[in-house]
Amino acid sequence: MTEPRHRWEIDRRTFVGGAAVVGGAVVAVPLFAGCGDDDEAAEAQTSTVRMRINGEERELTVDNRTSLLDMLRERAELTGTKKGCDQGACGACTVLVNDQRVTSCLALAVMHDGAEVTTIEGLADGDHLHPLQRAFIDEDAFQCGYCTPGQIMSGVGCIREGHTGSPEEIREWMSGNICRCGAYTNIATAVARAAREV
């Protein structure tokens, strides 16, 4: 169904995008000079957030509606985190926020001012892969690879939480991550292997 749009919605999205400066000062380009109402509406419905993403301080002005997922992918240019269902059901968008795994599609970026965010891009130490990344390769724990960043970030959380005592326990605590290729057996093996190493 087509939903009724507020008259300025599309323009404002462009406006917000145009005002983005990653990692530096925010310069709002006055696209709406002379359009007082739209200007005010746009200002009230955006917020500036500061986050530490993969160890790097970032400052971004986002529409209040922007999910943490969309902010990471479209504004911070970190497209490793994937959008699957966009409703918290598939786990493809899993990232760590303050060391806890969350589904970034259900998180509003504006609610994460001051947060520490780790995405799949921040896991390796230079060219040295995280043990779970290494284990996913060694155990052939993916096929198409689309769910893999979310699986790995969720696996890091699962290991940190200490829920890797048995294959059954790993499966239960990794159930928030769907793999439509069905690589579950090798995913559970990879998580168990990395849990022994970290």
Binding site: E3, D63, G88, Q100, L106, L108, G176
Partner: protein, 325 residues
């Protein structure tokens, strides 16, 4: 998603006054953000309450006090909760996924809205979303819907697991507004749909849940939660049963039984509790007591299986809890 104003409340007063001006509270956001994206929820303003001091889990001699902003994962992992309230810990760990449990708050869990597909689909008729529009579920796909507490206006199942445990244990919801604090017995908190399914709880506009209190008891300690679902993990209940039994000297002194997945609200079963009280545990007793679990049920076209399934769910969980050391 429609545009909205966003603010972060620094303290309780700021949160209450934002709500008085029409803002919706947001904590974990796992329900609200999802429904805003589907345009089921269309708040003009949202106020983030995560800075408020409702993060403690406090076990007192007679009461467990749970701050409303405690996350599901925190409550489930708490040693005192696992030891003295197994049905709470189990109901939480059988809910949602690890990621969502890290995000979702206990207050938000009690405020979550139904998972009925028609409620979530704004192109279909739903009295809960648009009062008077009709109910597409009654003549539609209703396999997962409720058989107890339904009305001609709405048959949506209450989705929460932990609320079933809290109803079984006679928890109290503590809420606050400008007029002060109020204690709401959880049995009076949730509203059956009747003719006004859009009114889901006995909470005043702008009232803020600050905590939930649960009485300590022997039957809370000997308790557990059984969840039956289409897949083994990360799924809502088809049926579920929270059971707590105080068995002293070979006799059931107190029984607490509530069920999920079958009611429009978390469903207490006083008839089952009465049948158990004062009796000696036995397989026959479990079966006889559980036989009334679906009394009053009104099955729909696709969910008649729940009538038998809920009896078996209760019987199995009675046997499990009765056999605990």
């Amino acid at each position: 998603m429609y545009p909205f104003l966003f603010s972060k409340a620094a303290d309780e007063q700021a949160a209450l006054s934002a709500a008085q001006s029409g803002a919706r509270y947001i904590a974990g956001g796992t329900t609200l953000v999802d429904l805003m994206r589907e345009t089921v929820e269309r708040p003009e303003a949202v106020v983030d309450i995560n800075a408020l001091p409702y993060r403690d889990i406090d076990l007192q001699p007679a009461t467990l006090r749970i701050g409303s902003l405690v996350r599901m994962s925190e409550l489930a992992a708490h040693p005192a909760v696992r030891e003295q309230f197994p049905m709470i810990a189990q109901s939480l760990e059988l809910s949602a996924s690890a990621q969502l449990r890290n995000m979702a708050s206990i207050g938000g869990n009690l405020m979550q809205r139904p998972r009925c597909l028609y409620f979530r689909d704004v192109t279909t008729a739903c009295n809960r979303r648009s009062p008077g529009a009709g109910c597409a579920a009654i003549g539609g796909r209703n396999r997962t819907h409720a058989i107890l507490g339904t009305s001609d206006a709405c048959v949506a199942t209450h989705p929460s697991d932990v609320a079933v445990a809290l109803v079984a244990l006679d928890a109290v919801v503590i809420a606050r507004d400008a007029d002060g604090e109020r204690r709401i017995p959880i049995g009076e908190f949730f509203r059956q749909p009747g003719t006004t399914p859009d009114q889901e709880r006995n909470l005043r506009p702008g009232e803020l849940i600050t905590a939930v209190e649960v009485p300590v008891s022997p039957e809370a300690r000997r308790s557990g939660y059984l969840k039956v679902r289409d897949r083994e993990s990360y799924e809502f209940a088809l049926t579920s049963a929270a059971v707590g039994l105080d068995i002293t000297g070979g006799t059931i002194r107190v029984a607490r039984v509530a069920v999920g997945g079958v009611g429009t609200v978390p469903w207490r079963l006083p008839s089952v509790e009465r049948a158990l009280t004062g009796q000696a545990p036995s397989p026959d007793l479990w079966r006889t007591a559980a036989s009334t679990a679906a009394d009053g049920a009104k099955p729909l076209s696709e969910n008649g299986f729940k009538v038998e399934l809920i009896k078996r769910t209760v019987e199995r969980q009675l046997a499990t809890i009765g056999a605990l050391p």
